[in-house]
């Protein structure tokens, strides 16, 4: 009786595992398959689960539907610039909030935290109006500046800096090490995992961002990849799923490969984040 119960639960468990895997893997397999089908193969019912004659032209068609290289370059420039800007603004601010006490500190920190509750979808209209008055629309700056700092980053990094034992810093101060050197030589190395995690977080969100570029740019010269992919839907008359999926695959593959290789680190980093 007991063994059959155990066998049942093992089978049940296996079924749940298969179901979860299917729910998360089939959509990707379906994208892969559709990307090499011809339009005729796509529009049949019931659908086919294998392609006898892959149609590689789909990728060329997707790539030529929008200025792919330009968009790719723009995505790289904007993501890298935002990460650099965030390092420059977040690290000193987090350090000051963690290790100094000054007038208005609590209020200023509360303001920074409150800004986390103000998403782009709330303020994009005034930000657009402000940037267009300053003539910034369709520039890299228009995309970089709104994300040039991260309240979330300040919050996380402040926690990390606070956890550094006071004795370590006192010892350095006794050795007459300057505050600046303490920050660079002692605090930064300790905070490295947190900074790496934050950078990864920022990279994922800016690389994938659709909303800010949609609102703040109209020009191919500065638009980024998510907008290019989104334009595939309007590219042809009717919906050409095979081209859409081919284009989709091209921009998903790099980030998915990075994820598969760095999967352990990524999961570890996010777990680490979650524990805070």
């Amino acid at each position: 009786m007991k063994t059959s119960g155990k066998a049942f639960s093992a089978i049940g468990r296996a079924l749940v595992i298969l179901a979860i895997a299917a729910i998360y893997i089939v959509p990707f397999y379906w994208m892969l398959l559709t990307s090499i089908k011809s339009q005729g193969d796509v529009l049949v019912f019931p659908p086919t689960f294998w392609v006898a004659q892959p149609r590689w032209e789909n990728f060329g068609e997707a790539l030529s539907a929008f200025p792919f290289l330009r968009y790719l370059l723009n995505s790289v420039i904007v993501s890298v610039a935002i990460i650099l800007c965030q390092c420059l603004t977040v690290i000193p601010a987090a350090y000051a909030f963690a290790r100094f006490s000054f007038k208005g500190q609590k209020a200023l920190f509360a303001i920074a935290l409150a800004s986390m509750m103000i998403p782009a979808q709330l303020v994009f209209l005034p930000v657009f109006l402000m940037e267009s008055r300053l003539g910034m629309i369709n520039s890299y700056a228009s995309l970089i500046l709104p994300s040039a700092t991260s309240a979330f980053g300040i919050f996380m990094l402040r926690q990390t800096f606070k956890q550094v034992p006071e004795e370590v810093i006192e010892a350095a101060r006794l050795d007459k090490t300057s505050e600046f050197k303490i920050m660079i030589k002692i605090m930064l190395p300790i905070a490295k995992p947190t900074i790496a995690t934050l950078a990864l977080f920022t990279f994922i969100s800016t690389w994938n961002d659709y909303f800010w570029p949609l609102v703040l740019t109209t020009d191919d010269r500065v638009r980024t990849l998510p907008l290019g992919v989104a334009s595939l839907k309007m590219a042809e008359n009717g919906i050409a799923y095979h081209t859409m999926m081919a284009g989709n695959l091209i921009i998903i593959i790099p980030i998915l490969i990075v994820f598969l290789f760095a999967q352990r680190q990524v999961v570890k980093a996010f777990t680490y984040m979650g524990k805070k």
């Binding site: 749940v16 595992i17 895997a21 729910i23 998360y24 893997i25 959509p27 379906w30 994208m31 529009l43 019912f45 659908p47 603004t89 000193p92 601010a93 350090y95 000051a96 100094f100 000054f102 500190q105 920074a112 800004s115 509750m117 103000i118 998403p119 782009a120 979808q121 709330l122 303020v123 209209l125 005034p126 109006l129 402000m130 709104p146 040039a148 700092t149 309240a151 505050e179 994938n208 659709y210 609102v215 998510p226 992919v229 989104a230 595939l232 799923y241 859409m244 999926m245 989709n248 921009i251 998903i252 980030i255 994820f259 999967q263 990524v266 999961v267 996010f270 777990t271 979650g274 524990k275």
Partner: protein, 288 residues
Amino acid sequence: MKLAKARPYLMIAPAMAVIGVFSLYPVAYMLYLSFFKWNMMGPKIFIGLKNYGDMLSSTDFRQVLGNSLEYMLLSVVAAVSLSFLLALFLRKNTAVNRFLQASVFAPYVISFVSIAFIWSWFMDSDYGLLNYVLKLIGLPAVDWLNDPHVALKSLVIVSVWKGLGFDTLLFVSAFHTIPAYLYEAARLDKARPFAVFRKITLPMLSPTLFFIILTNIIASFKTFETISIMTQGGPLNSTDTLAYYIYQYGFKFFKIGYASAVGVALMLLVGIFTILYFLTLGRRVHYR
């Protein structure tokens, strides 16, 4: 000495400047614009509270508000319960579980645009795989994105599918922080499984639980890509939510004042839920 006093202010200045210019000032500017009639080109005309009056008496707005709240409720309940169950199921650190965790997490690193594409193809009512599977197991086909009673729920499915991995990961790591001796003590006391769950697991998980609830509430109000790509707010406005509505009024109809008034309403809504969170749930959080 003077420099030492100014130092912390100098260090936070760049970050605070960005927050001031791109978060606080826009909120103030939006509030100001909400009292005007303006089409972005001509002069601004002060009309007092008329935009708010128009908003409250608009049936469209009421529908959009209802959609947003329904979306929030559905996505929070689904995300929290599914990620909790999944974490419970995957909490042991085995190879299979690690693989599943990674698979569930994968969509989290991918753009919402791509996810929306994959799912609009998946949910295609004529040639989509989802309806094929339904027919295969003898269920009627569903008009996922064209039925006004279904479309909003379909979008919830997509965003829960995308975000589930992250929430699950947070729960799994929270499970691992519960000290084993608590369970050991409960076992010695012959505590019933439900009591163990209610008295140990739940309180120990509460900070994570409430963090996940709050982030999902805010994420639900930010939903834009899936709507813009999969349904454009339709059918019959059934998937039009506040963020998309503001975008439409601002960038399609150029009714800046009205869009700003709706923006203020959205801000109040986000604010109310955040404050409610801190007053009720946040207070009861069990901190270690």
